[in-house]
């Protein structure tokens, strides 16, 4: 039952999840951009669009969760001439388009169009997202993966300098923050309330991560409400100093403002801004030049233009350059490296913010934590990192992805989380033994970022999720990944504690993630599963087999020896000796 794909009792071989219902099916022509028109039957359920080829020489199957759809357009009208001119054009969030041609007679596309509109964009029809209908059962509960108290305890918190506060228990201090926050021990809850008035959307500086040895910290927040008049707030200034003083050796607190400095200045006009030198004597501010969500959205659009449906051929590298996608990746990684370096060298604690502190800030803190803390490089550790720095701290997944919402041109949509996963992939590539998970794990996360099959990425913040009882009413993506762990494991993983990873963020060493961005194009070679991993697994299995046979032999030997000799060697000792050898 927990198998991906679910039951298969519906109309021969159309996969169906528990809770999934067939809505309609129809004969259509799928206009494949690579192999031309293919006749097939399309099945639309409340979860997916499934197409099976009806042609004998093609085994084509399309299996697309409706959550992936961002836009459905009718192409051609009843009077359109030309072959396959009448039908539907579907734009997907995962960098592809699907085109279907239908018969012109009798408004044949109408019910397909209406079913798709209804179930791909349930919010406009007051219908629930599929995650609330999904009745899948898994043998592990992904919601149990992240427990903030446990995670802070793992980091050694609370301690003499940091305390856990429940001031936001009912989200009354900040409705986009989690209920549990870690703040300096000396600062009272009343102080925190006053600081909140000076930070955009009340997102006060709180601890994300503490270095286990030198005790420097990464702290995150939103921009200060400085405004045109250059307002100051004594409580905020005192609070930042209190953060600095949690570590006595340090004379300056480093503030990384993720934005380009011009943008930070421009934000003053709308009441925001940045920490000025005169107000914050013991802080040092630098800008990291990372652009805003609109720039990133346009950049990804350009990437799609050069990879789908046709891959740019003649000037591939300069076209890729003109999308600026890798340049943005470079800036995000460079920023995270600076944060990680400050903290790991013990030079200074770091405060990170952008405007609201839920996009670029999440990218920077989570990537820096990934570089600093090997725990986050395990499968569960990574899930905790995403759960903590992204989901609980209010990255607006609902707005950025537009779950179930038909407004495809919404200016709030942006591939910020995708960009983060891309950065993680770049690190995976540069450190092939440092991560417990593999590329497929990352692709799976991205697929379910859009699918709406799991509750994990729904809604904008913890308070909204609590109101909707997401944890009770939906399944977590981590239930799927953690009950299939073998599939997502990197066989080359070598556990190393306390190793800080500094990826090379030079353009020479960054690559376009072809296996993700160009995966729909059959002409671009991609090997799934990765044959190197596959072969390595075989070798590992072979070795395990040898070890087992050797152990059996040794056991048999020691049994014989113990029968023959008066001082038998302890077989368990022998075993442990063996263990260390491998």
């Amino acid at each position: 039952m927990s198998r991906e794909g679910g039951n298969q009792d519906l109309s021969e071989t159309v996969p169906r999840l528990p809770g999934e219902m067939l809505i309609t099916d129809k004969e259509v022509i799928y206009i494949c951009p690579f192999n031309g028109p293919i006749k097939g039957r399309v099945y639309i359920t409340n979860y997916r669009l499934y197409l099976r080829s009806l042609e004998t020489d093609s085994a084509l199957i399309l299996d697309v969760p409706l959550g992936v759809i961002s836009r459905i357009e009718k192409m051609g009208g009843a009077s359109s001439r030309g072959e396959n001119a009448y039908g539907l054009d579907i734009t997907c969030k995962d960098l592809r388009n699907l085109r279907f041609a239908l018969k012109q007679e009798g408004h044949s596309r109408r019910d397909m169009f209406e079913s798709l509109m209804k179930y791909a964009f349930p919010l406009a029809h007051s219908l629930p997202l599929f995650a609330f209908l999904n009745e899948e059962k898994f043998n592990v509960d992904g919601w149990a993966v992240y427990n903030p108290v446990e995670e802070y305890r793992r980091q050694g918190l609370p301690n003499h300098h940091w305390r856990i506060t429940f001031i936001n228990k009912c989200y009354e201090l900040c409705d986009t923050y989690p209920a549990l926050l870690v703040v300096p021990y000396r600062t009272s809850d009343d102080d925190l309330r006053r600081v909140a008035t000076f930070r955009s959307r009340n997102r006060i500086p709180v601890l994300s991560w503490i270095h286990p040895e030198n005790k420097t910290v990464i702290v995150r927040c939103s921009q200060p409400l400085v405004g045109m008049s250059g307002k100051r707030n004594k409580d905020d200034e005192k609070y930042l100093d209190a953060i600095r003083e949690t570590n006595r050796q340090i004379s300056k607190l480093t503030i990384y403002d993720a934005r380009p400095s011009v943008n930070a200045v421009a934000n003053k006009a709308t009441g925001g801004g940045y920490e000025s030198d005169d107000a914050y004597h013991n802080a040092e501010l630098s800008f990291l030049d990372i652009h805003n969500i609109h720039v990133m959205r346009e950049s990804l659009k350009k990437v799609k233009d050069i990879v789908y449906p046709n891959v740019e051929e003649s000037h591939w590298l300069s076209s890729l350059e003109s999308t600026h996608w890798l340049e943005h990746i470079k800036l995000v990684l460079t920023g995270a490296i600076q944060v990680a370096d400050k903290v790991s060298s013990g030079k200074s604690s770091v405060l990170v913010h952008c405007s609201d502190g839920w996009d670029r800030t999440s990218q920077l803190t989570s990537l820096a934590m990934l570089m600093l803390d090997s725990f986050y490089r395990t499968i569960e550790g990574f899930e905790i990192l995403v759960q903590k720095e992204w989901i609980s701290f209010g990255h607006k997944f609902a707005s950025r992805i537009g779950h179930g919402d038909k407004n495809h041109a919404d200016a709030d949509r942006s591939p910020i989380f995708l960009q983060f996963i891309d950065c993680v992939w770049q690190m995976l590539k540069q450190f092939p033994t440092a991560f417990e998970f593999n590329e497929r794990f990352l692709v799976t996360i991205l697929d379910h970022l859009y699918s709406c099959r799991f509750g994990t990425f729904l809604f904008n913040c913890e308070s909204a999720r609590e109101r909707q009882k997401v944890m009770e009413r939906t399944v977590s993506l981590w239930s799927l990944t953690n009950s299939n762990k073998e599939k997502f494991k990197n066989p080359f993983y070598t556990k190393e504690i306390n190793r800080v990873l500094y990826p090379v963020a030079s353009m020479r060493h960054l690559e376009l993630w072809v296996n993700y961005y160009i995966r729909w194009n059959p002409r671009i070679k991609q090997q799934q599963p990765n044959p190197v991993e596959q072969r390595y697994m075989e070798l590992l299995a072979l070795r395990d087999d040898y070890i087992k046979r050797l152990e059996d032999l040794q056991l048999a030997n020691s049994a014989k020896l113990s029968a023959a000799s008066s001082s038998p060697p302890n077989s368990s000792q022998m075993m442990s000796h063996l263990q260390t050898q491998f």
């Binding site: 020479r508 050797l550 030997n557 491998f582």
Partner: protein
């Protein structure tokens, strides 16, 4: 020793900077006839640092105050810096290095003096004679014979003594064919593709000239090739020049096969860059890779403007075309350009790697390099006289062999299990093609190698590589025999810059080598455990 007059100062106090994370070395610098040595001061590392002078590509000197700096750019793309005490000494040493690194005489080069322990002279030279490959062909078909018509190199100075030709064509006919082909390179067998019974041939251009001369024996030879092939076989002539360039070659006595004269054969033009433009592309790429100043945001367009990856793409595409003809269309393929010693070999050798699983083994690949590059007369000495840093205007230099290695690397990236060797072997071959202690890549042809007695007086690189201690570095631990044809994707998105080559000395901290090392450990452990079993039972 005859080099002594070129050594102006033999000794100096110096400090060596090797870039990257290698520690600085300080000690006594020594110039000998073939090497630059640095013996570190006692307290630092005890190892002697040694550089073959032949591997220096360019020397740059600067003096300031009472010391100087020499920057050595090596043919393997390394950049070294020597800080030397004394202005005169610096200039003398720079002069010595310049003179000694560019000596042209083959028989005074280091391979003639190199006598490594554990190897015997002449050992590996018999590994890959033409006869060996003929034996394989003879097992597959009887239509071909080994001809010794070139026994004394008189017919074709750049061919080996023995070549494989259609059984029905006699030596006299071959002699006349040779007169009709540039440099005497008449069509010979490069590879017999047993699954389809088709063949791959190579030659140089026909000497048609402005009068469109013909040669009956040449026409008969190609007709005989089709007769040896599968029934009704067609033939494709893959010309590595553009139609325009091929036509123009007539004015200087060359040209192409006239359509009417070769029934059953069709000509295809697939222009591949060669000579100067290729060398310049290589130089631009190396410069771009080593340029730390340039704004990195323009890296991709700069990489593109080097055109190197475009050359990789063209080479692979043409090789695929040849392979496709043989595998899918049952056609025989003849490849040639002008001389047939550069791009021709690039295409025939790559096509074999794509088609032939045996050429993807360790031995098979060495045999391929020996047969299709060294014995086939790729002029290594001329092409590899200088690498990417030389200030002298390129004359005959061209990185065709490096381009081949890059294409092989692209194959290995796309088919990570199908090649028995790894990046290590490719890097080693690159290094030794440009500067080596072994004789394997010396001279331009078999004839020259015979005259210089390379085989009896130098050691072969192959025997050095095939020693057990080298295997870990060279072999692909994940290799599994793949009996299929490996069709590479040649889309620009599928081709990568070969970082292991071009960014070798400034690589990211961790790379595929780490993974390789891990796999080796697993393989070794597996073997050890397997080996341990009999002992365990014996002790019972």
């Amino acid at each position: 020793m005859e080099f002594s007059e070129l050594i102006y100062t033999g000794r100096a106090q110096a400090e060596l900077l090797r870039g990257g994370e290698a520690p600085r070395l300080r000690g006594t610098l020594c110039v000998t006839g073939h090497h630059l040595l640095l013996s570190p001061e006692p307290q630092s590392t005890p190892d002697l640092w040694l550089l073959l002078l032949r591997s220096v590509d360019s020397v740059e000197k600067r003096v300031a105050g009472d010391s100087g700096t020499i920057t050595l750019r090596c043919k393997d793309l390394r950049v070294l810096q020597l800080d030397i005490e004394g202005v005169e000494t610096t200039l003398d040493i720079a002069r010595s290095i310049e003179a000694l690194s560019s000596l042209e005489s083959v028989i005074t080069s280091f391979p003639f003096f190199y006598r490594p322990k554990g190897l015997r002279l002449g050992d590996a030279w018999h590994f890959h004679p033409p006869e060996r490959y003929y034996k394989r062909v003879a097992r597959e078909t009887t239509a071909w014979r080994l001809s010794e018509v070139n026994q004394d190199f008189s017919l074709c100075p750049s061919y080996p003594r023995a070549v494989i030709v259609p059984r029905t064509v006699d030596d006299d006919a071959l002699a006349r064919c040779a007169r009709f082909r540039q440099g005497g390179r008449f069509p010979v067998l490069s590879y017999h593709h047993a699954p389809t019974g088709t063949v791959l041939l190579r030659s140089s251009q026909p000497l048609a000239g402005p009068q469109k001369k013909r040669c009956a024996e040449d026409e008969e030879l190609l007709a005989a090739v089709l007769a040896c092939g599968p029934p009704g076989a067609r033939g494709f002539i893959v010309d590595t020049r553009s139609a325009q360039a091929a036509k123009q070659a007539r004015l200087t006595g060359g040209g192409t096969e006239a359509k009417a004269a070769y029934p059953g054969w069709r000509r295809l033009h697939r222009p591949l860059e060669r000579g100067r433009p290729l060398q310049e592309s290589f130089m631009r790429l190396v410069k771009a890779c080593g340029d730390t100043e340039q704004s990195m945001d323009l890296w991709l367009s700069r990489l593109e403007s080097c055109h190197w990856l475009a050359h990789v793409k063209e080479a692979l595409t043409t090789a695929c075309l040849a392979a496709q003809g043989m595998e899918r269309e049952g056609a025989c393929i003849l490849v040639h350009g002008t001389e047939g010693t550069d791009n021709t070999l690039l295409v025939t050798s790559l096509a074999q790697l794509i088609l032939d699983p045996l050429s993807r083994t360790m031995t098979g690949f060495q045999e391929l390099v020996e047969r299709e590059w060294i014995q086939a007369g790729h002029p290594f000495q001329l092409r590899c006289a200088h690498s990417a840093f030389s200030h002298t205007r390129p004359k005959h230099e061209a990185p065709t062999f490096l381009l081949f290695l890059d294409c092989v690397w692209q194959l290995s990236r796309q088919f990570p299990l199908s090649l028995e060797f790894g990046e290590g072997l490719l890097l080693t071959l690159f290094e030794h093609a440009y500067a080596s202690s072994f004789g394997t890549f010396l001279c331009n042809s078999e004839k020259e190698r015979c005259l210089c007695e390379v085989r009896t007086r130098t050691h072969s690189l192959w025997s050095a590589l095939n020693q057990a201690k080298e295997q870990r570095k060279l072999r692909n631990p994940l290799y599994v025999l793949n009996p299929l044809t490996i069709w590479p994707s040649v889309e620009p998105q599928s081709l990568r810059l070969w970082q292991g080559m071009f960014l070798r000395w400034s690589r990211p901290p961790e790379s595929s080598e780490v993974v390789w090392e891990k796999v080796w450990q697993i393989v070794a452990e597996g073997e050890k455990t397997e080996g341990a079993q009999p002992t365990a039972s014996a002790s019972a």
